[in-house]
């Protein structure tokens, strides 16, 4: 998701022009080994998410292993990661967890980015009283125990919707979690946007744009925002990993979507059988670890690539 603008800029940039911000960033990023490792991990997750229907050895709801192997069967050639207590193939379920994880990470960060950039942008560009008010509001969201509040909201909202037309929305519970993670995940984006806007609006090129009579909309959308994006991309990459982890924890506690296959959900179902079937817990746990690590390393590499002066 966050790679898309970078890729587009690479494809369309004519060779005669001096390398732009994104291309320079990519050239530095390519030499960063941890960053590339992160990118590789993220690419693997994305590929699995796109192709899980073809590469998974079984159907996700196939419990026929109960007939031949039985539940909680250790890893064999037929079931590489074993089967869990319901006779599901663990490998298949883990593969099918990838699209859910990405949907949560990207969905939550889309919501968070829209709110965060809007609030941070207004705050940083206008300054004064608006800035003061919005930053107090942001601080409020930064300090509240987000995870605790989200747990309560997910549970209580699940009761409120019973019998209402909202109930017909597919994966309603998962949608709620994504929306909540977005609604509570924007403060760091808002802070970064504000800081970047404060820095950039005093720069000479913005001054120049103002002098030639560019409209305020043009200044914000074409001059300030594009230059703020590299810093935001780093925060968003970190946020995607954070959102995936948060969803895993919510599902692990039993408040996830029972219809969606997610790694946290798998841990919730299989954790009580940890002693007899450890593979059913280790596989989804490792999947969460790999994905979160991928996004963290990616963010780390991006931050080094876009802010080379900060690197130590």
């Amino acid at each position: 998701m966050t790679e898309a603008p970078a890729a587009a800029a690479l494809a369309t940039a004519p060779p005669a022009r001096p390398p732009g911000m994104w291309r320079q960033g990519w050239q530095r990023f390519r030499r960063n080994r941890t960053g590339m490792l992160g990118l590789t991990l993220v690419c693997i997750v994305v590929l699995v998410a796109l192709s899980c229907a073809w590469i998974a050895p079984y159907e996700p709801n196939d419990q026929s292993a109960m007939m031949r192997f039985g539940s909680r069967e250790g890893p064999t050639w037929a079931h590489l990661f074993g089967t869990d207590r319901m006779g599901y193939d663990v490998l298949t379920r883990v593969l099918y967890g990838a699209p859910t994880a990405l949907a949560v990470g990207i969905g939550a960060m889309l919501v968070a980015s829209v709110i965060g950039i809007l609030i941070g942008g207004i705050s940083g560009y206008l300054g004064g009283m608006a800035d003061e008010l919005l930053m107090r509001f942001t601080e409020f969201f930064l300090v509240i125990p987000v995870f605790i509040v989200i747990l309560a909201v997910v549970r209580l909202f699940g009761i409120v919707v019973v019998g209402s037309p909202l109930e017909s929305i597919p994966y309603l519970n998962l949608m709620t979690i994504i929306l909540l993670l977005g609604l509570f995940g924007w403060p760091s984006i808002a802070r970064m946007t504000r800081a970047e806007f404060l820095r950039l609006k005093e720069m000479e090129f913005v001054e120049a744009a103002r002098c030639i009579g560019a409209t305020r909309r043009d200044i914000i959308l074409r001059h300030i925002l594009p230059n703020a994006l590299p810093s935001l991309v780093v925060i968003v990459a970190l946020g995607i990993g954070g959102a995936i982890l948060a969803e895993a924890m919510i599902s692990f506690l039993g408040f996830g979507d029972p219809k969606a296959i997610s790694w946290g959900q798998l841990l919730f179902f299989n954790y009580e059988a940890l002693k007899v079937a450890p593979w059913a817990s280790i596989a989804p746990g490792s999947a969460i670890f790999m994905t979160v690590l991928g996004f963290n390393l990616l963010a780390d590499g991006l931050s080094d690539a876009f802010n080379p002066r900060l690197k130590q």
């Binding site: 941890t34 300090v143 125990p145 995870f147 039993g254 841990l267």
Partner: protein, 322 residues
């Protein structure tokens, strides 16, 4: 601006914040309707009169706004109401279960502080060496390892395979381990504390190392070295003190994070603390406990942030109050 005015302003903001959170949770609880009706919906033979009587007992027949202020007034007087499920005063429950939570969180943060300082100093004084690289990669990996997965692995290895530590609870119910209550309690604490300390150490080490690398470049370190002080003294006396200041402010954030994810930690180890109580309360719609807990956790979190901020201002004279 004086320090007193700064503290007063922060205190006012904190109070507003705590009230805000309680309003959010209260509104949500009221949105689901009468909890008594929901809890008794599937029970046959419950008459409307009985539901009304129970609702009256919990003041549920009053309009929400009045109930909120009654609740707030009672909280100010130290009365958090009575748990619907346990039929015990919520204040006492929060205290006993809260102590259990603190029992694993405070040792975890102290251990990780000491470990992080030691590891970070070792790495930073050998910048770009193999040790440094190893510490950095280990900390980066450790930071991405989900805490509850670490807990699951710890249980698998140390409880199930090696059989050294117990996998759940804070005490043994039948026979105490090694015949002593104290050792029994400590033995149960090992795995949860290890899990929390693992994550904290990784985060604090990364922060401390980058601060150390930064501080060691300063002129006053060179001056200390030039004056002939032994290297140990330069590093531990002069550099660590300065590198520690940002770590101190981060402690508040880390403590908040630990408290916020206590439900996960305590579910993994079936630990009888605030997080475990919270999960039970929201599953059973024990709304006085939900209200009391969110309140207490927010207050603890805000206090931790406040204390670290004040400590930061007091320790570092370069910080200007705004």
């Amino acid at each position: 601006m004086g320090i007193t005015r700064y503290i007063v302003r922060r205190l006012m903001f904190s109070v507003a914040l705590v009230l805000g959170v309680s309003v959010i949770i209260f509104t949500l609880i009221n949105a689901i309707g009468n909890p008594v009706e929901i809890l008794l919906a599937d029970r046959p033979g419950i008459t409307q009169e009985a539901i009304d009587a129970i609702s009256r007992y919990y003041n549920l027949d009053q309009p929400p706004l009045i109930r909120y202020f009654v609740w707030l007034w009672n909280v100010v007087r130290g009365d958090f109401g009575t748990s619907i499920v346990y039929n015990q005063p919520v204040g006492d429950m929060l205290f006993t279960w809260g102590l259990e939570t603190m029992k694993i969180q405070i040792p975890a943060i102290l251990i990780s502080l000491v470990a992080a300082i030691f590891i970070a100093v070792t790495a930073a004084t050998r910048q770009y060496s193999r040790v440094d690289f190893g510490v950095m990669s280990g900390a980066l990996l450790g930071q991405s390892l989900p805490g509850f997965f670490v807990g699951i692995i710890l249980i698998l290895v140390f409880s199930y395979w090696l059989g050294i530590f117990p996998s759940y609870g804070a005490y043994s119910t039948r026979r105490m381990l090694m015949g002593s209550g104290l050792i029994d309690g400590l033995w149960h604490m090992v795995l949860p504390v290890a899990m929390l300390a693992f994550f904290n150490t990784a985060t604090l080490t990364l922060l401390m190392r980058s601060n150390m690398v930064d501080v060691l470049r300063h002129d006053f370190i060179m001056a200390a070295r030039a004056s002939g002080l032994p290297e140990r003294r330069v590093v531990y006396r002069h550099a660590v003190r300065n590198a520690f200041i940002p770590v101190l402010t981060y402690l508040g954030i880390l403590f908040g994070l630990m408290l916020g994810t206590a439900p996960v930690t305590e579910t993994v180890f079936t630990w009888p603390g605030l997080g475990f109580l919270y999960i039970q309360a929201i599953q059973q719609l024990d709304y006085p406990v939900i209200m009391g807990e969110t309140m207490i956790i927010t207050v603890m979190l805000v206090t931790a942030t406040l204390l670290t901020d004040i400590a930061y201002v007091l320790i570092d004279p370069r910080i200007r109050l705004e």
